[in-house]
Amino acid sequence: MQSLIDFVARFKELITFTALVIICLSLISIGNVSQIGGFRAILIGTVGNLQQLFSWIPNPQALRNENRALRELNLQLSTEVIRMREASVENNRLRKMIEFRQMATHPMIPAQVIGKSVVEMRNFMTINRGRGDSIAVGMPVRTDAGLVGIVVGVSAKYSIVELITNRNVKISSRILRTGIAGIAVWDGGENFMLNNIPESFDVVKGDYVVTSDFSNKYPTDIPFGEIIKVVEDPSSLFKKIYIQPFANINSLEQVFVVKFLPDPERMELIEQIEEQLRLRK
């Protein structure tokens, strides 16, 4: 017995250590000790009260983290605001287009611009409507703002539109206020020039220009642009009139194909006369 006591006294640390480790492992293996559930509930309450008591103490790290989180949230919300603004602009544009479509005389086919191309300085765009949508070569294309171009090629699902910003495009136009008619051509930049308007005619900056009923390509009264500059050249009998088109050619997304085709009899007659004139030369 004495030897056992001596042994325990000699190795008391090791024996205690072993016993405590076994107790710890047992507690871990039990996991959630239900018996201390009530005790823990008291602890949670105590800890909660203490935390409430010390909640006035500022925590720089927490504040930094909160600031960072708020900045990220701010950035996220700013992005959302921009998206919503864009959606709002698009919504307004589409609403205008719907109203405009209801007001238009000629039937229109809405189309989405799916591509743009420049071939030898000629500007084209591709739209997602084609023969299957009753689109034919020669139909004008416009936006709610104004004239954009004309269909020059169609497939079953797609069409190619030649934009008005092309060297060979000539648009028979009319000044809305006075009814003076002329031929508008692209100046190679952002604007158009209205030719054949005599010096004596009443043309002022700000006049609106529409397609004229002399046109064999476009239906009459399609908005075209606004006169932004009138230059009187003493060496010429005609004015130099600069027109800014209403339609923003560089940012086309949605367009309308006007279901209008020139009168074939009229086109045929014109072609015959042009042929005769060429032969006379």
């Binding site: 640390e13 405590l20 710890c24 871990i28 039990i30 005790f39 602890l43 105590t46 010390f54 925590n59």
Partner: protein, 176 residues
């Protein structure tokens, strides 16, 4: 005369143990309530390790074992941890720290730079064992976690341990 001295000694010892227990409870609550104020990158010092190492170096391995076990149990209870994890890691830590105990040189042990070295070693041992249980049921890599948080936590605990060197408890030096 001898009987009176023994009674007084036991009384002093009892008071000291009560103080240790109070310190353990206060430290546990401090850790839960206020430690986030001194957290750096989510790492907080473990004041219970400092207390247990300090007690072990002052009172020996045997007392240190109980200090580790009971301190760990308090910690587990207050921190809502699995009961036994901190108790186990602190008990093992105290057992190993106990080998650094030098009878008659207790004051030197806790009031020198040696204390910080022992503290760092003890904190590493504690974190190694504790994170083993902490990581066990997760997909985290133990060694990555240990190198990231275990070593950093041990270092932070050691830095805070500098203050323990200057702790002076009034009263007679008592050995058991």
């Amino acid at each position: 005369m001898q009987y009176g001295y023994d009674r007084s000694r036991k009384k002093d010892l009892g008071i000291k143990y009560v103080l240790y227990a109070l310190a353990a409870v206060l430290i546990a609550f401090f850790h839960v309530v206020l430690s986030n104020l001194i957290a750096i990158g989510g790492i907080t010092p473990n004041l219970m390790i400092i207390l247990v190492v300090w007690i072990t170096l002052k009172r020996g391995q045997f007392v240190g074992l109980f200090a580790g076990f009971l301190g760990g149990l308090i910690y587990d209870a207050v921190t809502m941890d699995v009961i036994g994890t901190n108790a186990l890691s602190l008990t093992i830590m105290a057992f190993l720290t106990g080998f650094f105990y030098r009878e008659g040189k207790e004051e030197q042990s806790v009031k020198s730079m040696k204390f910080l070295g022992i503290l760092f070693f003890a904190a590493l041992v504690h974190n190694l064992i504790y994170y083993f249980f902490y990581i066990k049921l997760s997909d985290l890599s133990f060694w990555n976690f240990f190198f990231k948080y275990g070593i950093a936590g041990a270092l932070y605990t050691t830095v805070i341990g500098i203050f323990a060197i200057f702790i002076k408890i009034p009263g007679r030096q008592i050995k058991i």
